[in-house]
Structure formats: structure tokens, C-alpha cells
Amino acid sequence: MLFALGTMLAVLLTAASDTEETQRPAARPVQRPKSELEKAAEEFRVQTRNLGLRPDSPARSKRSGNGGLNFHGRLFHNLRNDFFDAVPHEVFQRGGSKGLLRRNQFGFNLTGPVVIPRLFHGGKATYFSVTYEGMREKMGRSYLRTIPTLRERSGEWAHVVDQAGQTLPIYDPQTTSTNPNFNPAQPVSTNNLQHPRLPFPENRIPAARLDRTAQQAVALYPAPNSDAGPFFRNNYFIFAPEQNRADGVNARVDHTASDRNRLGFGLTWSNGVDQPAPWFPNEANPGSPARERRTRRGTVEHVFTLSPRTVNTLTLDASTDQYENPPAEGASQPFPRYSFEPYLSMGRSYPVSKNSRTTFIVTDGVSTRWREHRLRLVVQGIRERVNTFWPQYPSGSFRFSAGYTSLPGIVNTGHAFASFLLGAPEYAERSVVISPSYFRRNRGAIILRDQWEIRKGLTLNLGLNIDGSTPRVERYDRQSTVALDRINPVNGRPGALVVANRDGLGRAFQPVLVKPEPSASLAWNVLGSARTVVRAGYSRSYSYIPVYFAQWGTQAFNGAPTWVSENPQLLPALILQDGFPPSRTFPDMRPESANDTIADLIEPTGRQPTYQSASLSLERELRGQIVVTAGFGHSEGRNLLLSNSGSNPNAIPLSALTYRDRLNDLNFNRSLRPYPQYQKFDVYSSWPEGRYQRDAGYCRVEKRTSGGLTLSAYYEFSKQMDNYSGPYGVQDYYNRGNEWSLTSSNNPHRFTLTYMYELPLGASKLFLTMTDWRRHLVGGWSISGQTTMASGEPVALRPQFNNTGGVVDALHVNQVPGVDPAVAKRGPELWFNPEAFAQPPDFTIGAVARTHPNLRMPSSQNHDLSVTKRVAVTSERSVEFSMVGLNFVNHAVWTDPDTVIGPASAPNVNAGKIIGSRGQRIIQLGLKFNF
């Protein structure tokens, strides 16, 4: 029975099988079993299709499931509060406390495919990234200053004393007479007065004598609110918040049109306002003006792949940076600046200004490969527009001195504020800007690069840039300068004002410049090992002459008429209540119109700063992914652009010092200048006279580990010399070789340690490998830090007095023979030996270099640290807490020693001493949600 059933079942199954086979194509061969590799390949096809990784994948799967195409980003908030910070050392040493600080920085980033519901899904092809960041900041600022007492403001000076506590007499200039018995062979003294003068009765200026304009201004002075003293000094305590804010967006879109075409768009938008702490609650505020900054930038990039070995990249970039000092609220016109030291002045410079720089850049680069050469050609064009409205003192600046209310020739008499009350400045100027300046400049470059693999392990890079630039022009040709080769019609000497696009001149005062910039470098794997690389390089380059935010070089159209007292002790420059006397009107294009002024001078040859550098290094990878690099670099530059403190084409030669006291005669002094018709030249950081040379040896050790540690240590020993740098300026403008000394910012020894470490705690790590809830506590910690140590800069010494009749701007000191400038044990009590130096005798120059060759300022060190704790919320989301500490060990760095050397008769008692230290730990806390 069972057999029969089995036979029937077998027949039925066979029949069914036959039926199936008859339904199959007759030609199909018998399949062999798939190999494991074939199975794997089949699975590859299935999975890549499902994941949307193939051209034939369903559209839906192409949009998702491919890593990185979902929306993600971060939300963040960073917080700073004075509670977390240390008291600055310099404040702590004076018994002070921390100032208020509230700072919040916040924003978000979102990235993902561009999706317009029902219209467009970017998928892999179109991707965006947008970041917003905002900042709100409030910082308490405190200052202690001296302002006139209420009685002083009304002219009552009986209570006013000098620094020694003696009554300060205020003299009446209307009582000035000439002493017929004056003996010019003797110095002026109370017994030998040239211009006797009587003090005001009861040391009180009569109300009728007070200047009306001065009285109106004085009404805006706040009342004294402190009595820190002594002698009514330090009577105004300012505690006001500085408030800053900023908002910005950075957005990007990438679109892959095809395998060969890719487009990128970028946009940056930012608005910022810096509102410094107000010193006065009205328009007479002498504090810095509010400043608004606006940044806009847009970029378009198109990458076209011509072939696997040739790629073309076209980039269009437009950006604008705008800075504006807006007018104070409620003020119809800016308040003038009145300065009368030692009291806090009124008004400020640049109360209203607006500057913008717009740059358009078009760049096209082609990269290709030809045999052993990788070639790159880049063509770039740049259009630069600088619009500037930059009047320094649109309502005038008035400087008052004690001289007009003093007993002429007798120190410690009179007062600058008393002179102000009488409306008698010693100097006045007013900025006249009839129009903003619209500067334009074009630049271009052709860049050729050849990376040539000469043989295995030896690659040579050759480069040649052809740089060209047009000089600065003004849209309406409102530019002027002094032409040093033209004769001044007034005195017949060289030097006359010329105007762009007039009298046969071009629109610019400098030529079009085209310069070749060659470079060469090689990478050579020596010893037949790719782990050892010798690199060598040489380059020569030029930098452009910048177009500054300033209306320098437009003196025929915008000027600053000045009024200078011929003798501040006897005559004022003008009378305040009478206003400005008539002055030249603008535009004034006469050749002599810049006479008797500080004349704008544009260097006519357009010499560009030129740089050369050469380097040699040896790089070796050791076991354990340690890379050691040792190298040497040499660089030098000439024609570096110098400012007015480093360059003075109208300086009096030092040989004139033999005239001694005659140099104090202003007219005689002027006559010694190469261009006596001008007070000075203003070269505005554009005079190409600087030179430097730097040699440095260095060693770098880098280490990376799979445990998440990155370590980099860098040490450098360098020596840099130049002929211009320093805090005080140059002594001899005509013999630059005499100024060749250490660069004022040169730190010969510099060590930097940088580290990043993902702490080996938690799941997948070495220690505390907890996988339960405790992993949230122990895992996810990382640190980053940087430690920098540097030796000090060279000491720059300065004599206390400069009695050279105005010939020398920055006088050096003399060395005392046989006295060692170094001290056995350096410390704050004595850092160097001031007795090794001396004040030069009158009308002589100092012999010690601008920066001392051996003496160094105190060394410095800084330690910054960031600690981050990350908590995973899900596999895609995490929360991150961070703490960034600048100078987190709160290390104090000594301040620089007093470098002023006094004369033997009155030595500077603080010379060589350090009076404190500086530094502060600053903490920022952060919270970030990543998704």
C-alpha cells in the first residue's frame, strides 16, 4: 500500500517536473553552481541597486540611503561671562576687580540636498550648506580720568595746584609787555624775563573774558564724580558698557550638472556693530565712535572636466567690505575736538566716515598632464574699487597749551584748560573733504606651473607668474601729489603740487607695472626611500602697493588747513569764538597750494616690495608614524613700504646738527629741509625704502596614532634684521645702513606644542570600556591644546629728552664705555643695567643701535586648552559640551622693562625695571547639538 502511494507520488512529481521543464526555453543550458565570488558579485549588484548607487537604481533609492545625503548640521551656543575668567594680573596688582562681561554667540548649520517640495529634489546632484551665526556682547569698561573742576570751568583757579601741591598761577596774556632790560645772553628766568606778564587777580579769570564757544562746549562736560586725587586729579570715573553685535550667514550650493560639469555658488553676508563705551552722555564724547561693518561676498565656480587628465576651473568672486562711523544720534554736525592735556579732551577724530572696498576677481585655471609634466595655467583678473570718505576733523581740532596763560619762559605756570577758557589754541586744523574719493585699480596675473617628475623619486616644480598692476586712479581724477622734479613757483625750489590728468600728466602718478615672479622647488627621495624627502625651494615675488582706506593723495581737492601759533606763549593760532579765519578753498590746484602744509607725496616710480626666499629641509618618517623635519630658511625683502615714522623724504640731514640752537628757529629749520616749502611729507605707509633679512633653522616632530592622538612640536631659531622697525622710528633717514639692526619683533627662540587627543576611555577604547549607561559618562572626552613659548624681543632704548632742534625724530642712546649692559641676575627689580647707557649730549645722535643686539625683553609663554565632552544621543545625533581656556593656567607674563634712559643730572629711576605682569585666564563654555 505504502509502495503504491510512493509510486503514485513519484509519478505525479515527475509529471509536474516535466511540465515545468517544457515551459522553460529549450536552449537554456544546465547551470553550474555559482562560485562564492560570483555570489558576492551578484550581491554587490543587488545591494548597490537597492542603495541607489547605480545608474539603474530606482529614483527613490537614489535620493536616500546613499551616505551623507540626509539633512544634518548643528545648533550651537557659546557663552562667556566674567564669572569664569580670572582677574587680569595687571588689574589684580592694582587692587582692581574684573569688569562685566556677557557674551553670547549662537547659530546653526544645516546641510543637505536642495529640495523644493513637488518641484525639485537635489538628490546627489544639488546640495546646500547654510550657517547662521549671531553674537551679542556687553563688556564693562572702566576708566579713571581727570576733568576740570566746576570752579575751573567758571574761571576760578585759586584752588588749582601743581603736582607738588603749590598754587598754579594763571597769567593774563593781555598784560604782556616787553622787558627792556632782558639779557638774551642769559637763560630766561623770573629775574630775566623777556615778556613779563601779570597773573589774574585772585587767580580768577573774569567771566567777561571767557570765550563764548569755550563756554558752550564746557557745558557739555560731565560733572566730576570721583575724588581719587590727589589735588582734584582722577576725579572722573567712567563705567560704561561696550556693546557689540554681529549677525552673519554663510551659504553654499553645489550642483553636479553632469560627470563633466559642476557648479558651485557661495554667499556670505554679515553685519556688525561695535559700540564702544561712551565717555560722555552727549555729542562731546571723546571715546571712539561707533563702527558698523558690513561684509558681502558672492562666488560662482564652474569646473569642467575636458578629459580625465584635463580640468578647467572658472571662478567669479565679488566681495565688498564696508566700514562706517555713523553720525551720533541727534547731532546735526560732529562736535569739534578740543584737547588740553592733562585733562580729558572733548570730541573725537573721524566722528563720521564711510569706507568700502569692493573686489571683483575672475580666475580661470586649466590643469593637464603631458608625459611626465603636470601643467597648470591660471589667468586671473582683479578689479578693485575703494570708496572712501574719511575726514579726520570735519568740525575742527583745537590744541591748547599752558603757554598762553603762563609766565613766558617759566615752567609750571599757566594751564592748557585756562588757555581754552580764553579761546586761545596754539594749533588748529580742519579737515575739508568736498567729496568722497573713488579709487580704482586693476591687477592681473598669468601663472604657469610645471611639476616635472624627472625620474622616480625626483620631482621638480617650476613656476613663473607674470604679475601686472595698474596704478591707483580716481574715478573723477581727483588725485594730486607733489612732483619732486617740478619747480615751485613761490620759492623756485623743486617740489610743486600736480593734479592727475592735467598739465600733461596721466590719470595716475605711478607707472603700469609688469613683473615676472619665478620660482623653483624640488622634492627628492634620497637614499632610495620614499620615507626620506629632501625639499628645496627658491622664489622671488613682488607685492602690490595697497589702496588704503584714506583720502591721502587728494590734497588739491580735500585738505586740512592748519593755523599754527607763531609763538604759543604770546599769540594764539586763532580765537575760538571768531571761528576759522578764511582759508584756501577747494579744489585748489595751484602748484603752490600744498606749500606750508604736510604735503601728500606719492612715490613716483612705483617700486614694489620685492621678496626672495630659499629653503632646504629634510623630512624623514620614522617608525610609529613619527615624521621629523629639519630645515633652514632664508628670506629677504627690499623696497618694503614704510610709514611716516620709518621714512621722511623731507628730513634735515644730520650734518645740520652742528647749527645747534639755531635749529630752534622755525624758519631756519625749514630752510634746511630738501623741500623747505613743506612742513613734512605724508607718505602714508607707501614709501618703498625698507629692507629685511631673516634666517631661521627649525625642527618639527609630528606624531599621529590610531588611538586619536595628534602631536606636533615645533622649534625655531631665527635671526631677523631690518632697517625700519621699532616702536620709536628711525634716527638717520639718509644712512639706512646705520639703522640695520634686529627686527623689533624678532623672537630668536620659539617653541610650539600642539596636541589633539581623543581620550582612550569608554566603549571601543582602551580603558573603562563600559558599554552600559556609564559609557555616556566616561566616553567621548577629547582635548586640544597649544603651548607657545618664545624668547623676548630685542630691547629698544630711548633717551628721555630729544634736544636736536627737530632734526632727529627718534633719537638713540649712547653706550657708556666699560659698563656691562647685562645684569648678573635678571629680574623685575633690574632687567638690564641702565647705567650702561646715557642720554646723548644736546644736538648729537646716539650710538647704540635702534634695537639692542643682546638685550632681550622678558620671554613669554601661553597655554590654551579646549576640553570637549560628547554624548551620543543616537547614532546620528550627539550633544557636545566644550570649554575653551585661553591661558588656562593663568600664567603671568612680565611686562616690558622701562627703556627710557634719562640724563645723568636727572636719571629715570625706573629705567631697567619691570613694574608688573600681565595675562588673564579666559574661559568660554559651549553647547552644541549635532544632528
Binding site: 558579485a41 557689540n244 580625465p308 580640468v311 586619536g708 581623543e758 571601543s764 586640544s784 579646549s866 575653551v884
Partner: protein, 307 residues
């Protein structure tokens, strides 16, 4: 005091709760390992998982079938790409016959260029044809690639390896890992003092996920970079590769590129896979020990388990 009374029982309860975390079911693990150059394995290694015994079901030998998912992430400098192309072609051609290459591209998202094949000519052709423009994509695609490799490995007994050849710069990603300054007027900004934070966070998140995949990841980066952002990035790549049992190499000169690619191909070709089954169930992670008598083994020591 009250706080203390509450805190201690709460902490105890928490610790007890942690100890009671339920175990997941037993599973089979694929562990890549290497023995010394030229050495052979006489017998299967002995395995332990989380200190307990584990059965070695099979060892896929270095002479056995191999599938390499070769992923090109090239969007930068032609000067580096060309020697890389040549080195890849040389090494692909010299691979053993039973090594199949599947070619993919990671710029602008992972894309399959060529299905795995034993033939060398199409692979060579596609490598030569590959354009190098686009955005870097290694960080965005590595998880997908490893997941793909794991799925293939689950269906076949072949050695699977994911090999990236990349010249990626962290600045060239579509995502914003560089955190550029947006408000130039913000003079007190401290948030960019250590700009590598976003890169490290991305790597940390990726590490947590990548550590759950079994296929080894190999990376040859054509350009060793030392700036802060790329330092963090490349250290992260090193971590990613090592976490999966693979390795990463970074070339400091063009001359190093052929050598590094060749060495990486040898590493890939010489890897073995131990397929092991723990005697007991696993929870959260598996700490692996492999021993072979008389042989020093290099192997992946830890695998996180998917929750």
C-alpha cells in the same frame, strides 16, 4: 544628607541595572587577521571572545577568494592623481586571479562604476577614464561602503576589503567642517581657536558606527597634510581604518604614492579572515583574542555590536 540618602541607592540601582543589561543572541563574527610575511598557518587559530571560548568555524586563507571594493575619492591635484592611477593599474593587474575588483567612486556620493570582476582590462579602463573633479566624499560614504561589504560578506565566503584611495582635503567636502569666520567684525571670537572641533565630532560619530562593521577598511591618502584641520581629519582616517582592523597610509611626496598603494594592496591581499562563533551570547561589544601556535597574529581586537 537627604541628597546623600537618595543618591547612594540611586547609584546602586543604576549599577545593578547596568549589570542586568540583557545579552543579545549569539552571532558569527568575521575577524580579519594577518600573520608574518611568508608565514603559513598550519592550523586554525584559537579564538576567545570577551574572555570566553569561541569556535573558529572557518579560516579564509590569504590564497582564497578575495573581493576588493576599490573606491576612488579623487577630487584634487592631477599631479598626485596620475601616479596613483598608474600605481593602481599596476597593482590591479598583479593581483591574484581569484581576486575580484569592484570599482566605485565617492565624489558627490558613492557610485558603482564597475561591478566586481576578475577581468583586469575593464578595471584598468575605468581607472584611466575616471574624472577627478567633484567634492571629496570619504567621510560621507565610508559607512555605506562598509555596510555594502558586510552585506556581501554575509552572502558569500570570500574575503572582503574596502580600499579607499583618496586625496581629499577636509575643506573640499560639501559639508562645512571648516567653520569659516562669518562675522569678521567679531574680534572676541574664541570659538575658532581650536577649529578642528567639527572634524573631530564627525569622526567620533563615524567611529562609533564604523566599529560595528566587520569588513576591514584600508585607506591610502595621497597627500599628507599638516594644517590643523587636516591633521584632525587624517588622524581620524587613521582611527577609522584601525578600528575596522584595516590600516591607513599617508603619502608625503609623489614618489611615495606607488610604494604606499603597492604596500596597501599587499596588506589587503594577505589578510585572512577567521569566522568565529562565540560559545556564549554577546552584548554590546566583542573583545577578540586570536592565537596561533608559534605565530604572532595581527588582528582586529574589538567589534561593537549593533543595538
Amino acid at each position: 544628607m537627604v541628597t546623600r540618602r537618595l543618591f547612594i541607592p540611586a547609584l546602586s540601582a543604576g549599577l545593578l541595572q547596568a549589570a542586568k543589561t540583557p545579552e543579545v543572541s549569539r552571532r558569527i563574527l568575521r575577524i580579519p587577521f594577518w600573520i608574518g610575511e611568508g608565514a603559513t598557518l598550519v592550523q586554525a587559530p584559537v579564538a576567545k571572545v570577551n574572555g570566553g571560548p569561541a569556535k573558529v568555524l572557518q579560516v579564509l586563507d590569504s590564497a582564497g577568494d578575495l573581493m576588493v571594493l576599490l573606491i576612488l575619492d579623487l577630487a584634487g591635484d592631477l599631479a598626485q592623481v596620475e601616479p596613483a592611477r598608474e600605481a593602481l593599474i599596476t597593482n590591479v593587474q598583479s593581483l591574484q586571479e581569484n581576486a575580484w575588483i569592484g570599482l566605485m567612486r565617492s565624489q558627490d556620493g558613492l557610485t558603482a562604476l564597475l561591478d566586481p570582476t576578475a577581468e583586469r582590462a575593464p578595471v584598468v579602463d575605468r581607472i584611466r577614464e575616471l574624472s577627478i573633479s567633484g567634492r571629496a566624499g570619504l567621510l560621507d560614504t565610508v559607512e555605506t561602503a562598509l555596510g555594502l561589504a558586510d552585506k556581501i560578506a554575509a552572502k558569500s565566503r570570500v574575503r572582503l576589503a574596502v580600499l579607499y584611495v583618496s586625496d581629499s582635503d577636509i575643506r573640499n567636502y560639501r559639508d562645512d567642517y571648516t567653520n569659516p569666520v562669518i562675522n569678521h567684525s567679531d574680534a572676541g571670537d574664541m570659538s575658532r581657536r581650536f577649529p578642528e572641533g567639527i572634524v573631530k565630532e564627525k569622526i567620533a560619530r563615524l567611529l562609533a558606527r564604523v566599529s560595528t562593521y566587520e569588513s576591514p577598511l584600508f585607506i591610502v591618502h595621497l597627500d599628507y597634510r599638516s594644517d590643523t584641520l587636516n591633521n584632525a581629519y587624517q588622524t581620524g582616517l587613521l582611527e577609522l581604518a584601525n578600528t575596522t582592523g584595516g590600516s591607513a597610509a599617508f603619502c608625503r611626496s609623489n614618489a611615495e604614492i606607488p610604494e604606499a598603494i603597492s604596500a596597501m594592496f599587499q596588506t589587503v591581499a594577505s589578510h585572512r579572515v577567521a569566522i568565529i562563533q562565540p560559545a556564549t551570547g554577546l552584548r554590546n561589544q566583542a573583545d577578540i583574542e586570536l592565537e596561533a601556535e608559534g605565530r604572532e597574529l595581527k588582528y582586529r581586537t574589538r567589534l561593537q555590536l549593533r543595538r
